[in-house]
């Protein structure tokens, strides 16, 4: 089974799925906290329009989980606020 790493844990996925689809299939509905309220967010529009699903992939913040295709060995981490430590 193909897996990528999400916050240190292994997420199994089926090649062809996006990171967002794989996370939802694994029972994970959120992977970001908002800048102001610090509340959790995951998929909303599912097609790249809303930017709610932002996640950090291979250290790059602000990637749309609904668009980025899952690949074995990717490192995915929850994004806090803007995803930039200095903000």
């Amino acid at each position: 089974m193909s897996t990528f790493e999400f916050d240190g844990a292994g997420i199994e996925f089926r090649p062809g799925q996006t990171i967002g689809a794989a996370l939802v299939a694994a029972g994970q509905v959120s992977w970001r906290t908002t800048r102001v309220g610090g509340v959790r967010r995951g998929l909303f529009c599912g097609i790249g329009i809303c930017f709610d699903c932002l996640v950090t992939v291979e250290g790059e913040p602000n990637q749309r989980a609904c668009l980025v295709v899952a690949e074995p060995g990717l490192t995915v981490t929850t994004q806090e606020g803007t995803g930039h430590e200095h903000d």
Partner: protein, 491 residues
């Protein structure tokens, strides 16, 4: 930089049909650019191409596609075009700008198919530009709509069609429009318990649309098919109901439904709580106008007041060399989008070459478009946003999800500081200023401040562009390639 005769933005039904028809009836070169992982658009959305024993096989999801054969025929035509060196399909390319150029139109895109840290840009100059950018779900705020697990109806569908994933075990669908039914049927077939489809409008509204219905009898059969599927899966479809709240701590755990009165207002005391772990809401679709607006093509309001690209009966926009087809011209479903794509192709071929698409093909396409546009208008009239959509919003309900602006702040801008449209609300509260540029909240902000959908918003950049990519574009390092239309656009 590369050049081509025709550039089509969007590989959904409209863009694919347009490209295939041009290839068939001319010798023009065509580039199709699309943000998705492969061709198909929303209607024929597929998993990303993948290999391996555990890879998602599109065949597992074949039941979600009713006219796969048509899609395959279009792909076959495109493949032939590729073999002949006349067609390039650039998937995972997001067009962020299209501007007039000496030779036609310069289209700037970023390639998001090479990983998050390498996002190269490219520019293609085309003699003719076809906008087939489709539409996206229209959402309206309600208390709890920002909880994880609450999605748009189309989002649930995309997750299923492209990922093979049902978003929850107990799913509720709400909003309005015929699209709720196929999504519910697909989710039920793939293992979800669909606790209910809550359609805000009552079927009686359709009685006023007899003419359009009679001329589109096939659509009735389609609707009946979904109704039968829902019956089989024991999915209750309840009209005159609206999801007025979602509840939960870190994710959605329940929703509250209310019954709507004849005027479209939630009836006090009619609340009912239902346990769910996923919700899809959708109030129809908004056309994806970003490129059209910056190009300055004329727009026109549809019957519900939403602006769409104005086209003549050959899909020409007000700007010479720019054509539009599919839901960017108004929401109307995939068959209409396909037909408009063919019509746009006929116009392109007539305008750019000495040849033409056979007259009988064009006239029959035109008849189909007229008939199906009438049906699309009937759908809009039968499925309006209910007058009382905002009755149950609370002061702390989030309106703008990106900037986390509450209804209280929006109302203060309207009531105390005189904001009269979405633009003024934005200036005063940051509603619509975040990542999504108001694509999600703009409709609600317009309704709240002006009572109408409001004018289309100009967004100078239609898709995010990394600064480094912009910088590289400014340096004139790329040598113009020969005008073959099939040049490699690596920059």
């Amino acid at each position: 930089m590369s050049t081509t005769d025709v550039l089509v933005v969007g590989a959904g039904p409209a863009g694919l049909a347009c490209a295939a028809t041009i290839l068939e009836h001319s010798s023009l070169s065509v580039v199709v650019v699309d943000a998705g992982h492969g061709p198909g658009g929303q209607y024929w959305r597929q998993p990303a191409p993948a290999v391996g024993a555990d890879a998602l096989d599109p065949a597992e999801l074949a039941d979600l596609h009713h006219d796969r054969a048509r899609f395959d025929a279009l792909l076959h035509r495109l493949e032939q075009g590729r073999t002949d060196g006349r067609l390039q399909l650039r998937s995972q390319h997001h067009v962020w700008s299209a501007v007039p150029d000496m030779q036609g139109y310069a289209v700037h895109a970023v390639d998001r198919g090479r990983g998050p840290s390498h996002v190269p840009g490219s520019t293609t100059v085309a003699r003719a530009l076809v906008l087939a950018t489709g539409a996206f779900d229209r959402a309206l705020p309600f208390p709890g709509w920002d909880l994880p697990g609450v999605m748009t109806v189309g989002g649930l569908q995309a997750l299923l069609k492209a990922g093979g994933v049902v978003a929850g075990r107990r799913v509720a669908l709400g909003g309005t429009g015929p699209f709720l039914l196929p999504v519910a049927a697909g989710l039920a077939r793939h293992g979800a318990t669909v606790v209910g489809v809550y359609e805000a409008n009552r079927p009686a509204r359709w009685l006023r649309e007899g003419r359009a219905v009679a001329r589109n009898a096939g659509k009735l059969g389609e609707g009946a098919g979904y109704a039968a599927a829902l019956l089989r899966h024991r999915v209750p479809v309840r009209a005159g109901r609206m999801v007025v709240a979602a509840h939960g701590a870190d994710r959605v755990e329940a929703i509250t439904l209310a019954r709507l009165d004849r005027a479209g207002h939630p009836v006090p005391g009619s609340d009912q709580r239902v346990a769910v772990d996923a919700v899809g809401v959708g109030w129809g679709f908004s056309p994806q106008l970003d490129l059209a607006v910056t190009l300055g093509v004329d727009l026109t309001p549809d019957v519900a007041g939403t602006e769409v690209v104005a086209v003549d009966d050959a899909q020409r926009t007000s700007r010479p060399g720019v054509y539009a087809a599919g839901e960017v011209c108004g929401v109307g479903g995939a068959p209409l989008a396909l037909t408009e794509g063919r019509l746009a192709a006929a116009a392109v071929v007539a305008d750019l070459t000495d040849g033409r698409v056979p007259a009988d093909v064009v006239s029959s396409a035109r008849r189909v478009v007229t008939r199906q546009r009438a049906f699309a208008t009937a759908i809009l009239r039968a499925h309006p946003v209910p007058a009382g959509w905002a009755d149950r919003l609370a002061p702390d309900t989030i309106v703008c999800r990106c900037e986390e602006v509450t209804l209280g702040a929006v109302r203060a801008a309207i009531d105390e500081r005189g904001a009269r449209d979405a633009r003024q609300v934005k200036q005063l509260t940051r509603t619509g200023m975040g990542w999504c540029q108001g694509r999600v909240c703009g409709y609600a902000a317009a309704l709240l401040s002006s009572g109408r959908p409001g004018p289309a918003v100009e967004r100078l950049v239609a898709a995010p562009v990394p600064l480094g990519t912009l910088g590289a574009l400014a340096e004139p390092t790329a040598r113009p390639s020969r005008r073959t239309g099939i040049s490699d656009d690596a920059m």
